[in-house]
């Protein structure tokens, strides 16, 4: 496969943060604690900002109306085991990459730590390399390498800078995800072996594999699909594989939880979209009703359980479960509209949860608690914080004009076209989302503050600077999602068409002349 570009954008996307991670780790201790902190944070910021600059450049160079992979880069890596360094970016991954590149510097700046900033920054940089690598890998093993690589930094970030029960939470997170990946790895190997039996070539190259695997028998596809999805379902998380997330989210330090919920959760949903749909179209179509059901259950269940949470971070964990449910719903709607909405929602959810978790983290920094029972009336002493929280909350609820709405609407209306009743039930999830968020907002920000609550600091300039880009993006994507959708939809259309071709189905159309909905088997 020829390399698209003279400049290896995608490889640099991985190498830059990884390289800066090494630099950050190499900053000597001898220069004194203060100087070292400054030095390390400058290195971290430089690494993340140059990555961001690179990502933005890529987005600008990204060709419109092209559903295929762009800026590909393909090199030998471990030829005897069939693994290559094959990177590429398309409408699905472009904005996830951008979101990742945006969120990391914000997480770094918003989630500064007191103790041992050096390791914190280095792990974050490595984590960024892992996340970006996962989003741009077109080789299954390469993807898996990055997918797993992310575990270690997150583990150390939680265990190193987390709250009281951090070790337990970190281990639970690690093992649960690890368990999921075990099945993914077997699935990946099985896919390559099947390909090898058919063609005699041992390769993990996604485009090559899609050609053979998409045509294998449904039974095989279902088994493989389940293996792949196990990992993604845990990572996302999809009901009922979510129980690691409340613990991990609640115990993570701010930067950790922001990345965990905003970026890493998307690895799961991205994986489903990239691998399940492309490799196993028949299984996807056959199993879609079940996954749609899981998605809907997740939406309602997550929202209902969130209503009973008394800790803001746990509440957000269940809220994420519900939002991921929407993304799953859109993905398995298997209509261009629904899937596009799903991709858009991945980005939206990332931005919104990042904002909310940052704010909760800051509240924790001030008040040493994220329990709703201990927080009261914060809007009085901290109006700017309250305003930012309100905005993010409303975006999360799906208020039109903010980014959450467009994605949610496309998902639900896209699902309505192909699987009407799932969409109808899921729509009720929209209501419950408002219940717990408004309740939490009332508990934390309303009422008359007393004691420490009354003297809570409002956002500092640094914190404000972190919020501003998020707020602007939340509003911008709600008001003008066109630039994003224009780049997403060609890829999605191509993907849905390939699923249709492989399974002999067609996605339902609209208008008075079309047949009754739900015609897809």
């Amino acid at each position: 496969m020829p390399n698209d570009n003279v400049f290896p954008f995608l490889s640099m996307l991985i190498v830059i943060p990884a390289g800066f991670a090494l630099v950050a780790a190499a900053v000597p201790r001898t220069m004194g604690e203060r100087a070292q902190r400054v030095m390390v944070e400058v290195v971290g910021a430089a690494g993340m900002l140059s990555t961001l600059a690179l990502a933005v450049t890529m987005a600008i160079r990204f060709k419109l109306h092209d559903g295929g992979f762009q800026m590909t880069s393909s090199h030998q890596w471990a030829p005897s085991v069939g693994v290559s360094w094959h990177l590429g970016i398309d409408g699905i991954s472009l904005f996830l990459v951008l979101m990742t590149a945006v969120l990391f510097p914000l997480a770094l700046l918003g989630g500064r730590v007191k103790r041992n900033p050096q390791a914190h920054v280095a792990w974050l940089l490595l984590l960024e390399a892992g996340c970006l690598g996962s989003f741009v890998s077109l080789d299954l093993v390469l993807f898996f390498v990055f997918f797993e690589l992310t575990l270690v930094p997150v583990y150390f970030i939680i265990a190193g800078w987390g709250y009281a029960k951090r070790s337990q939470a970190a281990v639970k997170f690690f093992l649960y995800t690890f368990l999921g990946s075990a099945f993914l790895l077997i699935g990946i190997v099985a896919v390559a072996v099947i390909h090898q039996h058919q063609t005699g070539v041992l390769t993990f190259d996604l485009p090559a594999l899609e050609k053979t695997i998409a045509g294998t028998g449904t039974a095989t596809q279902i088994l493989l699909f389940l293996g792949f999805t196990a990992a993604f379902a845990v990572k996302a998380p999809i009901f009922p594989f979510h129980t690691w997330s409340p613990d991990a989210y609640a115990e993570s330090p701010t930067a950790g939880v922001v990345i965990l919920s905003a970026v890493m959760a998307k690895l799961g949903t991205y994986g489903i979209l990239r691998f399940d749909l492309g490799l196993f179209p028949r299984a996807t179509v056959d199993l879609a009703p079940y996954l749609l059901t899981l998605g809907v259950v997740g939406i309602l269940y997550g929202a209902v359980v969130a209503c009973a949470q008394r800790d803001l971070k746990r509440l957000m964990a269940y809220s994420s479960l519900a939002h991921i449910g929407f993304i799953v719903l859109g993905t398995f709607a298997l209509t261009t509209q629904g899937v596009s909405g799903g991709v858009l929602q991945m980005v939206n959810h990332g931005l919104v949860t990042a904002a909310l978790f940052l704010l909760i983290g800051w509240i924790y920094e001030r008040r040493r608690s994220s329990q709703t029972s201990e927080l009261r009336g914060l809007q009085r002493p901290a109006p700017v914080m309250a305003a930012a929280f309100t905005l993010a909350m409303l975006a999360s609820i799906g208020l039109p004009g903010l980014n959450g709405f467009v994605g949610e609407f496309l998902i639900l209306s896209g699902t309505f076209l192909s699987h009407r009743w799932w969409a109808v039930v899921a729509t009720f999830g929209v209501v419950v989302a408002a219940v717990y968020l408004l309740w939490a907002y009332q508990q934390v920000f309303h009422h008359q503050p007393e004691g420490e609550n009354a003297t809570t600091r409002d956002l500092s300039w640094r914190e404000g600077a972190v919020m501003v880009p998020l707020v602007l993006l939340i509003v911008f994507l709600g008001v003008y999602p066109k630039p994003v959708l224009d780049r997403i939809t060609p890829t999605i259309d191509q993907l849905v068409q390939s699923v249709d071709q492989a399974t002999g189905t067609t996605q339902p159309g609209t208008g008075p002349t079309t047949a009754a909905p739900g015609s897809r088997p």
Binding site: P79, V141, S167, Q168, V171, L175, A182, V189
Partner: protein, 547 residues
């Protein structure tokens, strides 16, 4: 050189093809030189010199085995010494691996010897001899040569296991290892006898051609011989149910010896096992695959689950090595060249992980090499960030996290298993890896938790939570507390440890151990990021498998 040898008239002399045995000769020669030199001197030879000589010999062996490898690439595989030894990619790979392991083991041993103030050349000599046995097993082309290699490897190891005269566990380990080793050797030998009786030969290629020419698939005696061979190999490879010695011996032996044992003994055993079963008895694949399947599953699950409840790190890693044995058996069970490739890669990766882990353990064990309770690792990251980082790396790699050799090893054997449609085995293996992930992680958690039980509340909670499971299990059953066992002074030792806590004597990493750790860590990471070097090596080694 081979060309030269080939030119000499065959009837005058046995064709030796020295290059094929030169790596072993280098090791043995090194051992001899050290022995002779040190006995000629009046005063005991300085350990530095002995170590240097050992490393020199091992490096020579490494270079020679690489030369052997390139010779094989250019001129093809061939047999030597009247068919007793074979020189092919496989043997070269094993030789490279063993000699590299010796370099590391010698360095680690040096640090340990200095720490324990043990003088004399015996340790290094025994390591060299033992390693040559493993190399022989890798190159053996005859069952009797396999047996000889096995015994050379084992007898030296028995002594090494007993090397720490000050610890009673060391003697006990040696005794157990010796009795059981002798027992299994006898079984192995009887297996050779039965195979010999059924096929009329002990030469591996001849056995293969015999099986190919004669339809003897139902020969009970042959199969019984095969079963006995499997027992012998299984014992050395620490596969369930022949693993029972492993935890005790790993725990009791001096830590550097344990590392060496875990690496080299496994390499030797698996090398011979792979060659014998895949190349000679490949035709009987259908018969032995189910047995290997069961053994592999048992090793995977038992190793992982029992390691979970250990409170001594060496014992824990012993069970973990049983789990790894199960993974390597995945490659054997596939019964294909891909399987051999996978197993070889796995052995390579695992060897350096084991050597590295036990190197760290030998440092943390402190003087006397007696403190291996998991509590000892609490807060290690504060006291010794590099040491803790290295151990964390080795453990994470053993769990199979990329980008380390541990990951590629698992990928390799999984490919083999999937290629042989052993999906159930693959699934069980990966599940066991998840279980194993837990106990590797537990150590990492401990190392990165704040030290001292009297820290802030949050920190204490953390540690209790993490270690809780193990403790709870220990309580509910009989008091099987592995922590210094039933030893008389165990209570006192435990108390002492608890009291001293963090303020205990500062840990000193001997320079040589440091180098060894750097080598292991470097191999793990560099070969993880550039996997092609090693995967291609393993691949080529298997393609050049003789016959």
């Amino acid at each position: 050189m081979t060309a030269l040898l080939a030119a000499t008239p065959a009837h005058l002399t046995v064709k030796i093809a020295y290059l094929s045995i030169l790596p072993m000769l280098a090791l043995l020669g090194g051992a001899l030189v050290i022995l002779v030199w040190s006995s000629l001197l009046r005063r005991p030879l300085e350990t530095v010199w002995i170590t240097s000589l050992t490393v020199l010999a091992a490096t020579a062996a490494l270079v020679l085995s690489l030369m052997q490898y390139f010779d094989v690439i250019h001129h093809g595989a061939h047999v030597a010494i009247d068919g007793a030894i074979v020189s092919d990619g496989f043997s070269a790979f094993v030789a490279v691996l063993v000699s590299a392991a010796v370099v590391v083991a010698a360095l680690v041993g040096d640090g340990w010897l200095q720490q324990e103030t043990i003088r004399g050349p015996e340790f290094h000599v025994l390591v060299l001899v033992s390693a040559s046995g493993a190399m022989v097993m890798g190159a053996a082309n005859d069952l009797i040569v396999v047996f000889l290699g096995l015994e050379i490897l084992s007898i030296a190891l028995y002594v090494l296991a007993a090397f720490n005269a000050r610890r009673r566990q060391s003697g006990e380990a040696a005794l157990k290892y010796f009795v059981l080793g002798g027992f299994s050797s006898a079984v192995f030998l009887y297996g050779i006898a039965l195979v010999y009786g059924s096929t009329g030969t002990t030469n591996l290629p001849q056995i293969a051609s015999y099986l190919a020419q004669n339809y003897v698939l139902h020969n009970g005696m042959l199969l019984a011989g095969l079963a006995l061979l499997l027992v012998g190999f299984g014992f050395k490879a620490a596969a369930v149910p022949f693993h029972l010695w492993t935890p005790d011996v790993y725990q009791g032996s001096p830590s550097p010896v344990t590392g060496f044992m875990a690496a080299v003994a496994k390499v030797g055993a698996f090398a011979a096992l792979l060659r014998v079963f895949v190349s000679s008895f490949g035709l009987l694949r259908a018969d032995w695959q189910p047995a290997v399947w069961v053994i592999a599953v048992a090793s995977l699950l038992l190793g992982a689950s029992v390691a979970l409840v250990q409170r001594d790190i060496k014992r824990m890693l012993a069970y973990s090595s049983i789990n790894h044995a199960g993974f390597i058996l995945l490659g054997l069970q596939a019964g294909s060249t891909k399987g051999v490739e996978g197993s070889l890669y796995y052995l390579f990766a695992y060897s350096f992980l084991a050597l590295g882990s036990f190197a760290v353990i030998s440092v943390v064990g402190g003087p006397g090499d007696g403190r291996h309770g998991l509590d000892r690792y609490r807060g290690l990251a504060r006291r010794q960030p590099w040491l803790a980082g290295a151990l964390a790396l080795f453990l994470v790699a053993q769990a199979g996290i990329p980008p380390t050799t541990g990951f590629w090893a698992k990928l390799e054997v999984l490919q083999a298993a999937a290629g042989a449609h052993s999906y159930a085995l693959a699934v069980i293996a990966m599940l066991s890896a998840v279980i194993a992930g837990f106990f590797y992680l537990r150590v990492v958690v401990l190392m990165y938790s704040p030290a001292g039980a009297t820290g802030d509340g949050a920190a204490t909670g953390t540690i209790v939570d993490t270690v809780e499971p193990a403790r709870a299990v220990g309580d509910e059953g009989e008091p099987v507390g592995v922590a210094p066992g039933g030893e008389a002074g165990s209570g006192a030792v435990a108390l002492l440890e608890a009291d001293t806590g963090e303020s205990a004597e500062p840990l000193v990493i001997p320079g040589t151990t440091g180098i060894a750790l750097a080598l292991c860590a470097g191999a793990t990471v560099v070969l993880g990021i550039y996997p092609a070097w090693l995967t291609d090596f393993a691949h080529q080694a298997t393609l050049l498998f003789h016959p």
